[in-house]
């Protein structure tokens, strides 16, 4: 939000990318649909055949049915379409030949009626050919797009799976909006490519090969002249593609930041309004948005130049064919050892023009393909992030937890060299409640995050019932641990489903029982639709306290072997807290639990109290023993006592808070 756009993506643009590798990976995804592609190939051959045969048939209509009358009408038969023989010294200079007609035997004496009927027959055939062309193109399109869409779906699901696999640490370090952009925007570029572009490019390529083949088979020399521009076209395409891809990579990254800023600003819109920050946010978004626009404009400069360049090269080829052929014809010389007829020249001019069409087609859609490759690189880039916190290859399922948790000289750090925990050792016997106290930033949340293995220890070991958490599967571990976090995250779903999140197979009755246990049932009953009330995003519509109650119900429903409460009751009013306190007591009983609490009442009932300061346990014991020690815990406790002292009198009627000097 207060961004400096430059620093965000430097790392990414400079990464060298291997296009063929990206394409190979794509190919891997398309492999399961190889049968369809075989079908597509067949259809492509058929449709290309139809595409080249139709004009031939069209020509035959002229040669077989239309020319003879026209020729007879033009007494000497001078017509541009007629085959003109090279000038010879003797005989009639210009001679019409019927040899061009191979479609049907049409005697020169055929009546008008017969000719029209013949023509009608040919037109019907032509229509049949068109129908075949349409149907094959349709099928081709269908197989390509549907398989493309399926591939995309696979890719999306895979990316999602991977996102959930990535450790919390990765999510903390990366903007979620940018990661999301890969699943939506980058995937969308691929979608555009697989829908139309790919098929057009491939069938265009087919047509080019076909036309080239036809030209060479008619006259190698003339064909080579006509194809002389092809290498230049290939070079131009390669160069522009390379440039475009570079530019598109930048656009994908910029789009990622647009997405990131959107996600941050929309989810933080309440703060923005509370602080009248809208204008600043809008201005900041404008900047990111403009960077995206500019990157795109730069990219299209390359892609828009490609098509005209190729078209111009195509016209050069056309001019070359016409001039070279015409020159040979007029000068009566052979072209590279082959004679050129006017008919051949006209045919070649037609060929070169036909050549241009697929070249154009390809170059226009090339943009989409380049963009898709850039998008694909980003998706694969995310998939290639190896979660540094994975199940060990030989990980076993953690057997049902008894609850013996041991931390042995545990060190933890988020950033290299900045230890958050420095050699913490503790043991929680099954069923014990361990309270963790200490100043903010002492490492309390880090400590409890290690138990469900949100992070890995960087030194020492954490075992549960003797199993190192790194040796068991994450799922079996976390399923048996219930966590109520500081911020209770709710999904936009019904209250029922939000509680059921703790144990998806739970029945409605069990959900309601859990809600009762957490004392959430009272407020739920008062909601218009009770348990079926739909919550907004992150549980909007509920107060923080209500959300916390739901989070507690959720943990209760999970019935975990180990329970972790991170300031679970901080936002509940004291009466409600008192109510859930008893519920929590039931919940805590016979379960190993770790509680971060600022309310000393919770701490007093703990079997162990650990005072954490700067990543070390500086005091440990029970509440009573620590009080007796007069150490840091005592100091913390007394500060609380001091603050609360006015109410000490029981009715508290006579005094007001008398703040002690800081």
């Amino acid at each position: 939000m207060f961004h400096d756009p430059r620093h965000i993506f430097e790392a990414e643009t400079s990464k060298p990318q291997n296009v063929s590798q990206t394409l190979r990976r794509f190919a891997g995804y398309f492999r399961p649909y190889w049968r369809r592609y075989l079908g597509v190939l067949v259809m492509m051959i058929v449709s290309t055949w139809a595409a080249v045969t139709a004009p031939q048939l069209l020509g035959q209509a002229v040669d077989c049915y239309l020319v003879p009358p026209a020729a007879t009408a033009a007494f000497e038969g001078v017509s541009p379409t007629l085959t003109v023989q090279p000038p010879s010294a003797s005989g009639p200079a210009v001679q019409a030949t019927d040899s061009a007609c191979w479609y049907a035997e049409v005697p020169l004496t055929a009546t008008t009626e017969e000719r029209i009927n013949g023509l009608a027959g040919l037109v019907l055939r032509l229509l049949g050919l068109y129908a075949i062309g349409s149907i094959t193109t349709g099928l081709m399109f269908y197989w390509m797009t549907t398989s493309g869409q399926r591939v995309l779906r696979t890719l999306r699901v895979e990316v999602f799976h991977h996102i959930l696999l990535l450790p919390i640490g990765y999510h903390v370090a990366h903007e979620s909006g940018d990661i999301m952009s890969r699943v939506t925007n980058d995937a969308d570029t691929i979608q555009q490519a697989v829908s139309f572009a790919l098929i057009q490019v491939i069938s265009g390529g087919f047509l080019i090969v076909w036309v080239a083949y036809k030209m060479l088979s008619e006259s190698v020399a003339y064909g080579l002249v006509a194809l002389a521009m092809l290498p230049f076209m290939v070079i131009a395409t390669a160069w522009f593609s390379a440039q475009a891809r570079k530019a598109f990579r930048r656009t994908r990254v910029r789009m990622g930041s647009v997405n990131a800023e959107l996600q941050e600003s929309i989810s933080g819109v309440r703060e923005a309004q509370a602080f009248s920050r809208e204008d600043e946010n809008i201005a900041s978004f404008r900047e990111t948005n403009a960077a995206n626009r500019d990157a795109n404009i730069r990219a299209v400069a390359y892609t828009s130049a490609l098509a005209p360049t190729l078209e111009a090269l195509g016209y050069v080829a056309l001019a070359l064919v016409a001039v070279a052929g015409g020159y040979a014809l007029l000068e009566g010389q052979a072209l590279l050892g082959e004679t050129v007829t006017l008919g051949l020249m006209i045919t070649f001019i037609a060929y070169v023009q036909r050549f241009n069409q697929p070249v154009q087609q390809i170059s226009v859609l090339w943009t989409n393909i380049q963009s898709a490759i850039a998008g694909g690189e980003r998706i694969f880039g995310l998939l290639d992030v190896v979660p540094d916190l994975q199940d060990a290859p030989d990980a076993t399922d953690l057997p049902p937890i008894r609850g013996d948790v041991v931390l042995d000289d545990v060190w933890a750090e988020y950033e290299k060299g900045e230890a958050v925990l420095r050699g913490v050792s503790l043991r929680a016997a099954p069923g014990e409640t361990v309270a963790i106290v200490g100043p903010t930033g002492a490492g309390k949340t880090t400590l409890i995050s290690l138990i469900p293995r949100f992070y890995d220890v960087t030194g020492g070991a954490l075992t549960i019932d003797g199993h190192d958490v790194r040796q068991v599967t994450g799922a079996s571990l976390r399923k048996q641990i219930g966590v109520v976090l500081q911020e209770s995250f709710l999904f936009s779903d019904t209250i029922m489903e939000n509680i059921r999140f703790g144990r998806p197979e739970a029945t409605d009755d069990e959900v309601i029982a859990a809600a009762k246990l957490a004392n959430a049932d009272k407020f739920i009953d008062r909601l218009p639709d009770g348990y079926q009330t739909s919550l907004g995003e992150r549980g909007t519509g509920l107060s923080q306290g209500q959300r916390q109650l739901l989070a507690i119900a959720r943990a209760a429903l999970a019935n975990p072997g180990i329970l972790i409460l991170d300031e679970a009751t901080s936002s509940v009013d004291t009466r409600t807290e008192r109510l859930i306190q008893s519920a929590l007591e039931t919940l805590l009983r016979d379960r190993t639990s770790f509680v971060i609490a600022h309310r000393l009442s919770t701490i007093r009932h703990a079997d162990q109290v650990l005072f954490l300061d700067q990543g070390r346990i500086v005091e440990r014991g029970t509440h009573d023993s620590l009080m007796a020690k007069h150490g840091m815990y005592y100091g913390l406790y007394m500060s609380q006592f001091r603050r609360q002292s006015p109410t000490e009198g029981g009715d508290g009627r006579e005094t007001r808070a008398a703040p002690a000097p800081a």
């Binding site: 207060f2 017509s79 062309g133 789009m255 111009a312 799922a475």
Partner: protein, 633 residues
């Protein structure tokens, strides 16, 4: 933004296209280039024709050079040229050929230049339109009231600003230009055809309305389908967004398999909808191509018939059929564009749905700036219902906070405390009743002037990516460093900020360091303090800091609240003890009010809350403290 209900709404796509008006010059350039490039394209057959003619004439002239002049003249007239032209063609045939060749090259370059300009400017303008659309969407989203955001998910709003905008952009950048060029080509070709052979042209024409009708059907069928595609994509994105925001909870409960299933289901839904559209396209697109080809076949038959009957010459027919291509290729193109158009139209609808969304909290047209507030806040019979329905969350709440007073709000979870607090900066409007500050109805003042005088610490603290300094200066970006440090000190945050190696420059937010709940909260407090507001709102503001820090914050707050009207949702009696007025809420109504001493006597609920607090903390403290003192002595 209000549209009168009587005037017909322009279609969303038209509205989107009107954005081109912001870039008149570039657009004119793009379309001018398009015009030139298209007319150049229409020249192709002419150029080639001319060249072939030149060669043919040259060959004929060479061959007939020996023949008598009368025969030559007859041949020339047969070819539709004069003898002089034929002779000339024979004299410098190669030169003419080279000139024709060069002409084609020049033409190719010109055409290339213009089609580049057209494509580039078209894309450029479309990117600019996308830029505008996104900005408009973003501004609107930023300003829509809380209740709008209560109902809409971030993930799905994001799709509108990204994917939907992109769909519209692609159409404006490519489809619209392509359609224009196709139509231009088609009309131009039809005009040329008419001049060539009106009768034959009439044969072609009936096919056009057929194709057009098909397009209309296609468009109207496809549009809602595309709308659904975007909806499904939004649903997909919402799941994604939610999972990323709640990744900790998902992992904590190891619900990855269920979430993956959820996502997979959404992905399948999305796929199914796309496949539906694709199936329709598979059926319709070949049909369009077929119809285009049908026209060619029809011309071949009817033209051929005319030729056989001797009413049409081969040359005429050839030129005719060359231009015929320019009628039917655009038809096929339009078939392609029509899908792009219906897609864009569906997306444009979704975009304008947001930009047109009426915020429940609207500034009055004659809203005036709220002068510097003294701080008298008055609620008069305020009733509030979420989403305008259901049981009221607040019912007929009235109270007056005098300038400088400290108002404590008490009540159980969900009793309406947060609602009262959200009404003061006008995040929501009351369903009934009036709220006044210094006697001015909130609905009559400019929002900015109101909110900039209220400091708020909301229940949840969202930090934005940026440095700690940026986050404290959130409401006043230009605040000097000294002031920032000062408020951080007041919020007991300076100490932990300084403990970071980068101090105030430490990055926080999504990509920054992880702060604990207590640290985040102190930044939020500092953020509010920096505004030096006349009215201060603290919502659960000291709930998740440790006791020592809380105590220090309390001291800071007590000093801070002096002279400001402040509303505090407090769960600690100690805060309440200092209050000038305590409002005890239950079920959306004020059930008791007064100072601590009065309430203890008069209000059972208050006494209950109070005693629960005593039981909770102080009683234990008392006992333990006594014990502690006993051990001490």
């Amino acid at each position: 933004m209000k549209r009168s209900p009587t005037s017909p709404a322009p279609s969303s796509l038209t509205r989107a296209i009107r954005y081109l008006g912001h870039y008149r010059r570039e657009t004119a350039y793009a379309y001018g280039a398009l015009l030139l490039a298209t007319s150049a394209q229409l020249m192709v057959p002419l150029l080639i024709h001319r060249m072939i003619d030149g060669i043919t004439r040259g060959v004929v002239a060479q061959q007939t050079a020996a023949l008598p002049a009368t025969v030559q003249a007859a041949i020339a007239s047969r070819m539709g040229i004069t003898l002089a032209q034929l002779t000339q063609a024979g004299t410098q045939p190669v030169q003419a050929l080279v000139i024709s060749g060069l002409l084609i090259l020049v033409f190719a370059m010109v055409r290339g230049l213009f089609s580049f300009s057209q494509a580039y400017m078209g894309e450029r303008v479309s990117q600019s339109v996308a830029f505008d659309l996104r900005n408009d969407l973003f501004s609107r989203i930023q300003r829509l009231s809380f209740s709008y955001h209560d109902r809409n998910q971030t993930g799905q709003l994001m799709v509108r600003a990204t994917d939907d905008v992109e769909k519209v952009r692609v159409f404006i950048g490519q489809g619209l230009l392509m359609a224009t060029s196709a139509l231009l080509l088609m009309v131009g070709a039809i005009v040329i055809l008419f001049t060539l052979n009106p009768r034959l042209t009439l044969v072609v024409l009936p096919i056009l309305p057929l194709a057009l009708g098909l397009f209309l059907v296609m468009g109207s069928v496809a549009r809602p389908m595309f709308g659904l595609v975007q909806r499904k994509l939004s649903a997909l994105n919402a799941i994604l967004q939610e999972n990323m925001a709640g990744i900790k909870v998902v992992k904590a409960f190891s619900r990855e398999p269920e979430q993956e299933q959820r996502f997979q289901k959404a992905a399948d839904d999305f796929l199914a909808q796309i496949l539906k559209v694709m199936r329709l396209m598979t059926f319709l697109m070949p049909l369009v191509f077929f119809i285009a080809n049908l026209g060619q076949a029809a011309i071949l038959f009817f033209g051929g018939r005319q030729m056989i009957l001797g009413t049409l010459s081969l040359g005429e027919w050839q030129t005719f059929s060359l231009y015929l291509m320019f009628v039917f290729i655009p038809v096929a193109q339009l078939g392609f564009i029509i899908t792009q158009m219906s897609q864009a139209s569906a997306s444009a609808g979704r975009i304008f749905e947001i930009t047109d969304a009426r915020s429940d909290v609207v500034e009055a047209p004659d809203a005036r700036l709220l002068p510097t507030v003294r701080g008298r806040v008055e609620f008069e019979n305020v009733t509030f219902r979420y989403f305008g329905g259901g049981k009221p969350v607040l019912e007929r709440v009235s109270f007056v906070a005098e300038p400088g007073q400290q108002i404590a709000l008490l009540g159980r979870t969900g009793s309406g405390k947060s609602t009262i607090i959200n009404l003061i900066p006008r995040f929501y409007d009351p369903t009934e009743g009036v709220i006044r500050i210094d006697g001015v109805d909130l609905r009559q003042v400019a929002l900015d002037s109101l909110r900039s005088q209220i400091g708020t610490v909301l229940q949840e603290t969202t930090l934005f990516s940026g440095t700690i300094r940026d986050n404290i200066a959130f409401g006043r970006t230009d605040a000097p460093m000294a002031e920032i440090v000062q408020v951080a000190e007041a919020a007991a945050a300076n100490e932990f900020i300084q403990s970071f190696p980068l101090g105030y420059g430490t990055p926080v937010g999504e990509r920054g360091v992880t702060l604990s709940g207590g640290q985040r909260q102190r930044l939020a407090i500092a953020r509010a303090l920096l505004l030096d507001p006349r009215i201060l709102i603290l919502d659960d503001s000291t709930s998740s800091v440790d006791l020592e820090t809380e105590w220090r914050i309390q001291q800071a707050l007590i000093r801070l609240m002096q002279g400001r009207t402040s509303f505090v949702i407090a769960q600690r009696i100690s805060t309440v003890l200092n209050a000038d007025q305590i409002l005890v809420l239950d079920d959306g109504a004020i059930v008791a009010r007064g100072r601590h001493e009065e309430l203890l006597e008069t209000s059972e609920i208050y006494a209950d809350i109070y005693s629960s607090q005593l039981v909770d903390d102080s009683a234990g403290v008392t006992v333990d403290a006594a014990a502690a003192m006993a051990t001490e002595s």
